[in-house]
């Protein structure tokens, strides 16, 4: 595997009284597509800039392939950055932009031409070599920035919200392209984004950050299915959150008393005590909505009224007010639309059924 492993060890960084990073530690493996995900101001860009060498951590060290990067300026580090604003040099053509690092290194002209054309073809821009950046579209600028960052054959590519300036459809396309470039070059990608969908769809692993702290590190599945905290659950995808008291427990099976829902069964390995206050979450697509009452083991069934159906083509989102007064969100996919399943409409009386195993405990506090 090409690429380098990057170790972030107890890194803290403050700007004045604002603590951007608080004791952050991460282990990024060789060749990984690693995302730093979080809302703006969570410290993800500061961390990326610290890895690139634009910020010096106040405490802690950053290691690339085991060697300490402290005090090493950006031009001495074997990593390159794709900037959010692309940062293409406006006075140079596409070719010269991509050739810039080679010209700095005084690479022979013949080799420059060969390498630049190779990298332009990697990002499918062979025909645009002589244009100025101002003549390119946003997506094309993005590609130039990627080619330019890759031409020095870095072992780590740092991407700072590279797609945020593109429109939604183009973003999807570029994301897939980034993924395939990652497969081709095989180096470590560290990808900063605030868009959970982007992070979920391409990452090998994700670190979710908020307020300068890493909340959870895991594969997209782990992050989505098993959020470590309430913040992670809320930040990634849509979710339902309940807070309640543990009434009784039998093995992993807890009976939870929730104010506006009544009692729920929760099957989760997190050890809790009777009397603890816990927060549980369940993804909307795990909740089945139906006109008739379903039966099953460890099945929670709640009765309610459809308060708001939101049709969006491939699925309908239902916001249901349950008997206790609380609200639940659920999705129903339209996979077999015309097969006689009775349509569920506004103000219909419905049953929501969900397995105790699909409820995940995200917070707990004793007593």
């Amino acid at each position: 595997m090409k690429g380098s492993d990057v170790t972030v060890s107890n890194v803290s960084k403050s700007f004045g009284s604002f603590a951007a990073l608080k004791d952050v530690s991460l282990e990024i493996k060789k060749g990984e597509f690693y995302s730093l995900l979080g809302p703006s101001g969570c410290g993800k860009t500061t961390l990326l800039r610290a890895i690139a060498g634009f910020e010096d951590p106040d405490y802690g060290v950053i290691l690339i392939d085991g060697s300490d990067m402290s005090g090493l300026s950006p031009d001495k580090r074997h990593c390159n950055t794709v900037f959010q604003s692309y940062a293409l040099f406006p006075h140079l053509t596409v070719f010269e932009n991509v050739a810039f690092p080679l010209r700095i290194k005084k690479t022979p002209a013949r080799l420059i031409k060969e390498l630049v054309m190779k990298h332009l073809s990697l990002v499918q821009l062979e025909g645009h070599a002589d244009k100025k950046p101002s003549q390119l579209s946003g997506g094309q600028k993005q590609r130039v920035a990627i080619a330019r960052a890759l031409i020095n054959e870095p072992s780590v590519l740092l991407l700072d919200e590279p797609l945020s300036a593109l429109d939604a459809k183009l973003r999807q396309h570029m994301l897939m392209e980034l993924d395939s470039i990652h497969d081709k070059v095989g180096i470590t990608f560290i990808y900063v984004t605030h868009d959970q969908q982007e992070a979920l769809s391409v990452s090998d692993r994700i670190a979710v950050m908020n307020a300068g702290v890493v909340l959870q590190v895991g594969s997209p599945q782990q992050i989505y299915e098993n959020p470590a905290t309430e913040f992670v659950a809320r930040f990634i995808g849509e979710t339902n959150i309940f807070k309640g008291k543990v009434l009784s427990r039998n093995g992993n099976l807890n009976v939870l008393q929730i104010e506006s829902f009544g009692q729920l069964l929760v099957d989760d390995e997190t050890p809790v005590e009777v009397g603890d206050t816990i927060v549980v979450t369940i993804r909307p697509e795990k909740i089945r909505i139906s006109n008739e009452q379903l039966q099953g083991d460890e099945l929670n069934v709640v009765k309610g009224i459809v308060e708001e159906p939101v049709y969006s083509g491939f699925q309908t989102k239902y916001i249901v007010r349950v008997e206790g007064g609380g609200r639940l969100t659920t999705f129903r996919q339209h996979a077999n639309w015309s097969e006689g399943i009775p349509d569920i409409e506004w103000k219909d009386e419905v049953y929501l059924s969900f397995s105790a195993r699909d409820l995940v405990i995200v917070e707990k506090s004793p007593g």
């Binding site: 390159n80 900037f83 940062a87 293409l88 040099f89 406006p90 003549q135 593109l166 459809k169």
Partner: protein, 312 residues
């Protein structure tokens, strides 16, 4: 039908330019082709004597010296103004710093020259201070040499370079410097290879704003310089007031104006290349990159917009 009032709107300005710019200029041109009067002024007789008189080695020497001094002062000014403009642009209290750059303008030009004389003169502040500290009693001669002229010229015209450089650097995207560093450039290379080419317009303006007035400097070489510090401005003044050869003064003035004008046109008004802007096209709706490229080249897509950015 609406009457075209354009000429009426332009008239005041046209009158202003004619009376205060074109007419005097024409008078100077005319004077240079007339015979000199005995006690100044001109006789209304056609003569090219003034232009013939210009071909003398002394005048050539002064011209070369003037060019040299102007060039030296301009280079020093630009080298000082670049970091100044940069630090003002990156500073958090731009307004205060710009204010400090402008403050000297509140004092009259001549008064500021005399201020330098009272600072650097033989009995000036610096010499008195040095004497007090026990340096040699006769003091140092700071003024009345070429170096002093360049020094005071730099002081006088520095703000004219700082202001345009500041305004260009302020618009410069500093992420580009980080990008250059990230791509392997040293700090110095990031400035020379990325920043300077991108603020070229500002540098050109700064050069013009300083070189042209310095080229015509009169008071500074007269008051600060020595016998050998004469510049073209002083020669013209002497021809006008002492030698009373008005046609020659006119001819030298005209030559300077022409020289400067030609230089400005060559230097600053190179035609900027036409550029076109392209809007994003969704590549998903295009079968491949080739189609996109084709679309970008088609006339509907590539409506040419002349670049709005002028050189100066």
């Amino acid at each position: 039908m609406k009457r075209n009032l354009g000429p009426a709107y332009v008239a005041p300005q046209a009158l202003w330019i004619t009376v205060f710019f074109a007419a005097p200029l024409l008078i100077i041109v005319a004077y240079s082709f007339l015979q000199k009067g005995l006690y100044g002024g001109v006789e209304p007789v056609f003569s090219i004597q003034a232009w013939v008189d210009m071909a003398n080695p002394t005048l050539l020497k002064v011209t070369l010296k003037t060019l040299w001094v102007s060039l030296a002062a301009t280079i020093v000014i630009i080298l000082l103004a670049l970091p100044c403009g940069y630090s003002i642009a990156r500073s958090k209290n731009q307004a205060l710093r710009l204010f400090l750059v402008i403050v000297p303008f509140w004092t009259n030009f001549l008064v500021r020259i005399y201020a330098w004389i009272s600072i650097l003169g033989n009995e000036g502040f610096v010499n008195q201070a040095l004497r007090f500290l026990g340096f040699r009693a006769e003091g140092f001669q700071f003024l009345y040499n070429q170096g002093a002229v360049v020094f005071v010229l730099v002081y006088m015209y520095l703000p004219y370079a700082i202001l345009p450089l500041f305004s260009t650097i302020d618009k410069f995207d500093f992420t580009l410097l980080e990008a250059a560093r990230d791509l392997g450039a040293t700090r110095m290379q990031s400035y020379t290879k990325v920043m300077i080419p991108n603020i070229k317009g500002g540098v050109i303006t700064a050069v013009l704003f300083t070189f042209i007035p310095i080229f015509g400097a009169y008071a500074v070489p007269l008051l600060i310089g020595g016998k050998d510090s004469y510049m073209l401005g002083n020669v013209i003044a002497d021809q006008l007031t002492k030698t009373r050869n008005w046609p020659l003064a006119s001819a030298i003035s005209m030559s300077m104006t022409l020289l400067t004008a030609i230089a400005v046109f060559l230097f600053a008004f190179k035609k900027p290349k036409e550029q076109q802007t392209v809007k994003d096209i969704d590549p998903l709706s295009q079968p491949n990159g080739k189609t996109i490229e084709f679309l970008h080249r088609s006339p509907e897509q590539g409506k040419k917009k002349p670049s709005g950015k002028g050189a100066a």
